[in-house]
Each structure stands twice: as structure tokens, then as C-alpha cells.
């Protein structure tokens, strides 16, 4: 990927991705897929466990602490097929948006 060398394209693409509503649509799709697969319930369960484990110093933990603790598991537990499908959608969007780009 030559993204690093041309920072302008990446930012421009991201801006268009958001403003065209494609990100919103994909977020919706992803959310419903994760919900159906039970991923959300598992993550929620994990977060609750984290709070229970740290119930002694609840004053000290922050949302960031919880995010740091749960994120690795959350990332790795996304079902592979959902990942692949969303990846495919994003790729399709990039090809649609940049017909002249030689990716």
C-alpha cells in the first residue's frame, strides 16, 4: 500500500467515505451482524466482568482502562466471516470511488 507516501489521498478518501454516508451504512450493517452473532453480548459480559474484578478500586478505573483491557479480546473475537464481508464492502467502495486509481 502506498498510503503512507500520499497522505492526501487517504484523508480525502476518508472524508468522502464519511460524507457519502457509506460509513454510516456499513456501521449499520456491521452492528446488526455483530448483534446477530452474539458478539455484543459477549463484549458486554466481558466489560461487566472487568467492573466486578475491579470493584475494590472503582474510583480509580476509567473508561480507557476498560477499553484497553477489553479491546484485544473484542478485536480477536469478531467472527472471521463478518470481517471478510465488511472488508469486501470497503474494498468495493474504494474501487467505486477511485476508478482511475491504480491500487
Amino acid at each position: 500500500m502506498s498510503m503512507e507516501t500520499t497522505p492526501g489521498i487517504r484523508e480525502d478518501l476518508l472524508r468522502r467515505f464519511i460524507e457519502s454516508g457509506e460509513r454510516e451504512r456499513l456501521q449499520e450493517v456491521l452492528r446488526s451482524k455483530l448483534q446477530a452473532s452474539g458478539w455484543q453480548d459477549r463484549i458486554k459480559d466481558k466489560c461487566q466482568k472487568f467492573v466486578h474484578e475491579n470493584s475494590n478500586d472503582l474510583d480509580k478505573i476509567t473508561v480507557d482502562d476498560m477499553a484497553e483491557e477489553v479491546t484485544p479480546f473484542a478485536r480477536s473475537s469478531v467472527p472471521e466471516d463478518i470481517k471478510a464481508e465488511i472488508m469486501e464492502d470497503i474494498r468495493a467502495y474504494i474501487f467505486r470511488t477511485l476508478p482511475e486509481a491504480d491500487v
Binding site: 484523508e11 476518508l14 472524508r15 464519511i18 460524507e19 454516508g21 460509513r23 454510516e24 451504512r25 449499520e28 452492528r31 446488526s32 448483534q35 446477530a36 452473532s37 452474539g38 455484543q40 453480548d41 459477549r42 458486554k44 459480559d45 466489560c47 461487566q48 467492573v51 472503582l58 474510583d59 478505573i61 476509567t62 473508561v63 480507557d64 476498560m66 484497553e68
Partner: protein, 679 residues
């Protein structure tokens, strides 16, 4: 859907506020840094929230149009321009718009969370903005949660919370329309008693906050565990509970009415509404011992002689019997409103949806639609390995099903002279979703020999029903916020076909409890969702060894994530105005109960002010039926005439609300559970 981080944030911060001492007492907020700049920050937050709603849902808002057709109204055009010309916000440091974007509430800057790994020495762009400008208060752009850089965490602020909730309510209607133009989403039309304004005000000002803080078991009166499970599911149903606690059915007035012809109230047949009211009140009031539903059982037996007597019954049949008797007791046959309108009784308000069955001719493509009223959805459990999910069951339920040749005769083909039998495709879908959606998992097959289906079915906490609606059958639609549901109760069945035991899980004040006859105990959400069973089933399917876990869930109860209340005054208006923010705000049209704010809002829902629009409910029903097609009207006419209730109760002005249960400062639902398992 996005509420969990906010919730956990508010929990953490409120604890911190209490522990920090200092400014803990000020206006419910724990953060002194926010309190110092509160006014200016809230002014900025107002703008940020509106901006956030529009830019996050720009496409949904663009699609949504009321009235349909070619001519776009003035409101549509301005909304379209607004959406098209407004650019999305970007982080001032890196120019991306993605990574947990935060808006500074002290200047116009936006900063993101890129460069996190604070522990590894990194500095987020939010932190950099703080260092460079000295500003400390930010708002998460997507979730409108307030972040205090000095505290290092999200902080709870009542005013900010209120602004975000109000914005969500204001945009709800527009977003629903965006998902499905002219969405005919059923709202809760105020039903039942009409409190005079003076009484409502008196109740609001004088009533102590109802203490529904406890849970209570229901005694098994000898193989009546099915009744206990059903009572728990009814008592924790937010819509029904709100109606009962808002004095929807008044037992005193009911008795006066029924004994008006001089008969002795003791000899009258029992009134199901009175008994359900008493049972729900008793269960919610808590108490030293479990509740014995003797009178409710008698009313059930009186209404259904088939289930009378000892012996095990089916919980689903019991639920249907209770609901039918309840409908018969409270429905108003002489309702002057509109005979063609939907039945306004609480049962149909809460549970009734419409099922659509579409049959498409394989030859000419002509589709015939039949609409059926439903109180619950009975789902087959598809065969397969491992655990099934509710989504799979629903997909199976709404699948396109080929009808055998000869089973269907197409009217259009017949008119065209073709008379030979041809194939057809039948498909079920949900035409109208009720506020409370009940699923029955068909575990008891009627095949011979009858057997129990033991497959584990995983029930999600939240489910989006959009893909299973009739609208989604026509074309793929966006996720409709009006179709989002949350789980609130499960009825489980363990054992065999002919002998077994019913238990229930129910959510009470955002916590889960397990009810096993007289015992009520806190439950882990993992057990509620049967996560261990599902995991074991997945393993079992892989290894083909060991005892496979048996599915327990038999009925699941879901409630809409956002409950729409119908305002009669607005509905009676000649034409629905476009869903702009001003309109909704000005008329106070949509009354929304957010499940996320359960503690406050459930109490609010019970207070009489929610019921105030009841006075004009009649025009509301009339207006609602205007938009429904003729099929729907005929259908509702049928429903409302089905059960003529002769023991109608015109509501007398009820006396001031009953005194609250004995005050007990302990708000903890666990308080009564320890002692309640005596049978």
C-alpha cells in the same frame, strides 16, 4: 445500542464524584472542572449534539420523507440542503474523522483519540489539544458523553444527559421515517382510565415515588409453576406494568360497576383484570414471603374451564388465556371512538401485531397478501448442530416457502383462463410490530410421536427486527430505530414433554433475576443468555461426544427499545406535519421512554401525567385508522368485535392514589429476596 459505554462511564464517574468529596454535592455532577464552566459548555454541547445527529444520520435523514410522492415540501428541501452542504467534522491535528472524535466544549476544535496507548507514552490528539490550549471539557461526538480531561474520564452531568436524551427523542421520528418512509409504527395510544387534570396533578404532587424496588417469587400451588412464570413475565413487562400502576384498571370501581344491579360481589365471576392487577402489584411490592396467586388461578380457571383442575399446563397457553380474559375484562365494546380502529385495550395496545402472509404465483408473479392479527410469534427451531440463534429461527420463520403444485390457485391466472394447478411461493413477515414482542419457541412438536426439541436457542439481549418486517421484504431498507427491541423476560422449561418445570428470568431495574416458584434470586446475564449452554453446544457439535446441553428457553419477551407514546392532540390534526425538530419540540408530540434511563423513567411512566392525553384518545384512534388500508380496518373491526365484554367498566374518578407500600429506605431489590424463598 451505543449506550453501554455511556452507562459505564456514568457509573464510574458518579462513584468518583462521591469519593472525591469536594464538589460532589453540586447539581448531581461529580466533576468540579465541568461545574466551573458548566453554562458555556452546555451552550456548546447543544450545538454539538444537533450537529452530531445530523452528520451521523445524514443518509437516513435524506431518505426519510413524509407524504412520499414527487413533490418535496419546503421542509424536505431545506433538510436536504442542510444534509448535503454540511461537512463532517475532522480532527484538527490529523484531519481524520473516525477515531473517537471529541469536540472541545471550550472552543471550536475537534480532536481525536489517535495516538492512544497513553501508558506506552503516546499522547492522544485530545491530550495534545488540552496541553496546547488548557481546555479540559470535551464531548464525544458520536455519543454526546462529556469527557473531562482533568479527571481523565467521562463524567456524568444531568444537564448534558438530558440534552442528549432530548435530542435522541427529537430525531427518533425522523430517523424512523428515514428507515421506512411513512412508517406506520404502532404507538402506545393511551388506553383505560382518564384522570381528571386535578386528580392527576394531585397525584403528581402528593404521591410518594412508588417503591417497585423489590422482586418476589410466586408460590407453586401444586403444578402451577407455569402460572408463576407467566405472572413474572407480566409483572416485568414495562408497558403492562406501567398501565396497571397508573391505575389503568381500578378494582374498586370495577366491583361497584359489576354489583350495580344489586348482585352480591362475592358471587360474581372473578374479574381477570382485577386479579392481574392484584398479582402484579403484589409481586412488585415485594414482601417477606412469596406471593400465592390463588385468586388469579381461580379467575384463570373460570375463564378457561379446559385448564381447570390440577395438572400441568403449557405456559404459553396460560399466557394466551390470561391475555384473552384480560382483554375481555377491560375492552370497551361501546367505545364511541371508531369501531374500525384498533382495539384500544391494554392487551392489544401492548401485544398485538399483524402478521403478513404473502403468496406469489410462480406463473404470473401476482402476489396475494393475507393479514393476520397476532399476540405472539411462534417460531420453529430449525434442525442443526450446535446452538441456534433467535435470528436463525426468525430467518426460518420468514423464509420463502415453495407451495406444492395444486395447493394454491392463482386468481389472476384463473381469470385469464388458465385453470391448471401451478406452484407458488409463500412467505411470512411481520407487517406491524407490537410494543411488546413475544416469541414462543416451538419445543413441543405435534408430530407423532410428540417429542421435545432440545436444541439450545441463544436469545440476544437486543434484536433489530427490521429484516423480518414486511417492508424489508419489498426492498432492503435501512435499520429502523423503531424496530429495535430489548429482552426483558424469558420463560424456561426443563424436563420432558409431559412433565417438567417452568422457571423465569426477568429484568428488574437493569438487573436480572431468576424466578423459580417461590424463590427469587439475582442471576448472571450469562445464564440468562445461556452463553455457557451455547458454548457447550458448539463444542458438542464439534466433538460429538458427551451430554449435549438441553435448550431451556421456551418463551422470550422483548420490548421496544424506544417506546413511542401517541399524542392525541397531534394525531387529531388534519395532516401530519413534517418531522422537523421544531415541530416535535413545539407540540410535544412524541413522548419517549428510554430504556437506558430506566430508574427515572419507569417511575415517570407510572405517574399519571403520561396518561393525560387519554382524554382525546378517541380522535387519535380515528386518525390512526385513516392511514391504514382497508384490509387493516376490516381486520381490526374483527378483532374488536371478537370478544364482546359485557362487564364493561366506565372509569369513575378514582380516589387519590393508594398509599405507597411501607416505606423502606433500602432500595436494594436484594433486600427481600433472602427471605422470599419460603414456600
Amino acid at each position: 445500542m451505543d449506550s453501554s459505554p455511556e452507562k459505564s462511564a456514568s457509573v464510574a464517574s458518579s462513584r468518583r464524584g462521591g469519593g472525591g468529596g469536594g464538589g460532589g454535592g453540586s447539581a448531581g455532577g461529580g466533576c468540579v472542572h465541568l461545574a466551573q464552566r458548566h453554562k458555556a459548555a452546555m451552550e456548546r454541547l447543544k450545538v454539538v449534539i444537533a450537529y452530531s445527529q445530523i452528520s451521523r444520520h445524514r443518509q437516513a435523514l435524506l431518505v426519510g420523507r413524509r407524504g412520499g410522492g414527487g413533490e418535496a415540501g419546503e421542509g424536505d428541501r431545506s433538510r436536504k440542503r442542510l444534509v448535503e452542504e454540511m461537512s463532517a467534522p475532522f480532527c484538527g491535528a490529523c484531519g481524520t474523522g473516525g477515531d473517537r472524535l471529541h469536540a472541545c466544549l471550550q472552543c471550536d476544535a475537534y480532536a481525536c483519540w489517535r495516538g492512544r496507548r497513553v501508558r506506552a507514552g503516546g499522547e492522544t490528539h485530545v491530550a495534545r489539544h488540552m496541553r496546547e490550549s488548557g481546555h479540559v471539557v470535551f464531548a464525544d461526538f458520536a455519543r454526546a458523553a462529556v469527557f473531562c480531561g482533568a479527571c481523565g474520564d467521562y463524567v456524568h452531568d444531568a444537564a448534558a444527559w438530558g440534552l442528549a436524551a432530548a435530542a435522541g427523542a427529537r430525531w427518533h421520528a425522523a430517523l424512523c421515517d428515514g428507515a421506512e418512509p411513512e412508517a406506520r409504527r404502532p404507538r402506545i395510544v393511551a388506553a383505560g382510565s382518564e384522570l381528571p387534570a386535578a386528580v392527576a396533578r394531585y397525584a403528581r404532587e402528593h404521591a410518594a415515588r412508588p417503591r417497585c424496588a423489590r422482586v418476589r417469587g410466586v408460590v407453586n400451588l401444586g403444578a402451577t409453576c407455569y402460572l408463576g412464570a407467566v405472572v413474572q413475565a407480566l409483572a416485568h413487562n414495562p408497558v403492562l406494568r406501567g398501565w396497571l400502576l397508573a391505575d389503568g384498571h381500578h378494582p374498586g370501581a370495577c366491583e361497584r360497576k359489576r354489583s350495580a344491579d344489586g348482585s352480591d360481589p362475592k358471587t360474581l365471576p372473578p374479574c381477570m383484570a382485577c386479579e392481574v392487577d392484584a398479582a402484579v402489584q403484589a409481586v412488585l411490592a415485594g414482601g417477606p414471603a412469596a406471593f400465592a396467586p390463588v385468586r388469579l388461578l381461580r379467575a384463570l380457571w373460570a375463564s378457561r374451564s379446559a385448564v381447570a383442575g390440577a395438572g400441568q399446563q403449557d405456559a404459553h397457553e396460560c399466557l394466551v388465556a390470561v391475555l384473552q380474559a384480560l382483554h375481555a375484562a377491560v375492552a370497551d365494546p361501546a367505545d364511541p371512538a371508531d369501531p374500525a380502529g384498533p382495539c384500544a385495550c391494554i392487551v392489544h395496545t401492548a401485544f398485538a401485531g399483524v402478521l403478513q402472509s404473502a403468496v406469489t404465483c410462480a406463473r404470473c408473479g401476482n402476489t396475494t397478501r393475507a393479514l393476520d392479527p397476532m399476540l405472539d410469534v411462534a417460531l420453529d427451531i430449525p434442525a442443526g448442530g450446535g446452538a441456534a440463534t433467535l435470528h436463525e429461527c426468525l430467518a426460518h420463520f420468514t423464509r420463502a416457502e415453495a407451495l406444492a403444485a395444486g395447493a394454491y390457485r392463482c386468481a389472476r391466472c384463473a381469470a385469464g383462463g388458465t385453470r391448471d394447478a401451478i406452484g407458488a411461493v409463500k412467505q411470512l413477515s411481520l407487517r406491524e410490530l407490537p410494543p411488546v414482542l413475544t416469541f414462543q419457541l416451538k419445543r413441543f412438536t405435534t408430530a407423532s410421536p410428540p417429542a421435545k426439541v432440545d436444541r439450545v436457542v441463544r436469545l440476544p439481549l437486543h434484536i433489530d427486527m427490521t429484516p423480518f418486517t414486511a417492508a424489508a421484504r419489498k426492498k432492503s431498507v435501512r435499520a429502523n430505530p423503531a424496530c429495535a427491541y430489548s429482552l426483558f423476560a424469558i420463560v424456561d422449561h426443563v424436563g420432558q414433554l409431559d412433565t417438567g418445570h417452568y422457571t423465569a428470568f426477568a429484568r428488574h431495574r437493569a438487573r436480572w433475576f431468576r424466578f423459580d416458584d417461590g424463590a427469587a434470586a439475582p442471576a448472571d446475564v450469562r445464564d440468562v443468555l445461556a452463553l455457557p449452554d451455547a458454548a457447550a453446544a458448539a463444542r458438542g457439535a464439534a466433538s460429538k461426544g458427551g451430554a449435549a446441553p438441553k435448550g431451556r428457553a421456551y418463551m422470550a419477551f422483548y420490548v421496544k427499545a424506544v417506546l413511542d407514546y401517541h399524542d392525541a392532540a397531534a394525531a387529531a390534526a388534519p395532516a401530519p406535519p413534517p418531522p422537523t425538530a421544531e415541530w416535535v419540540e413545539g407540540a410535544g408530540v412524541v413522548r419517549v421512554e428510554r430504556r437506558g434511563r430506566k430508574k427515572g423513567s419507569t417511575n415517570k411512566a407510572k405517574s399519571p401525567d403520561v396518561r393525560a392525553p387519554a382524554a382525546a384518545a378517541a380522535p387519535a384512534a380515528a386518525a390512526a385508522s385513516d392511514s391504514s388500508d382497508s384490509d387493516g380496518e376490516a381486520l381490526w373491526a374483527r378483532i374488536s368485535k371478537e370478544k364482546p365484554a359485557d362487564d364493561l367498566v366506565p372509569m369513575l374518578p378514582p380516589p387519590p392514589p393508594p398509599p405507597p407500600p411501607p416505606a423502606n429506605d433500602d432500595d436494594d431489590p436484594l433486600a427481600s429476596t433472602a427471605s422470599s424463598d419460603s414456600e
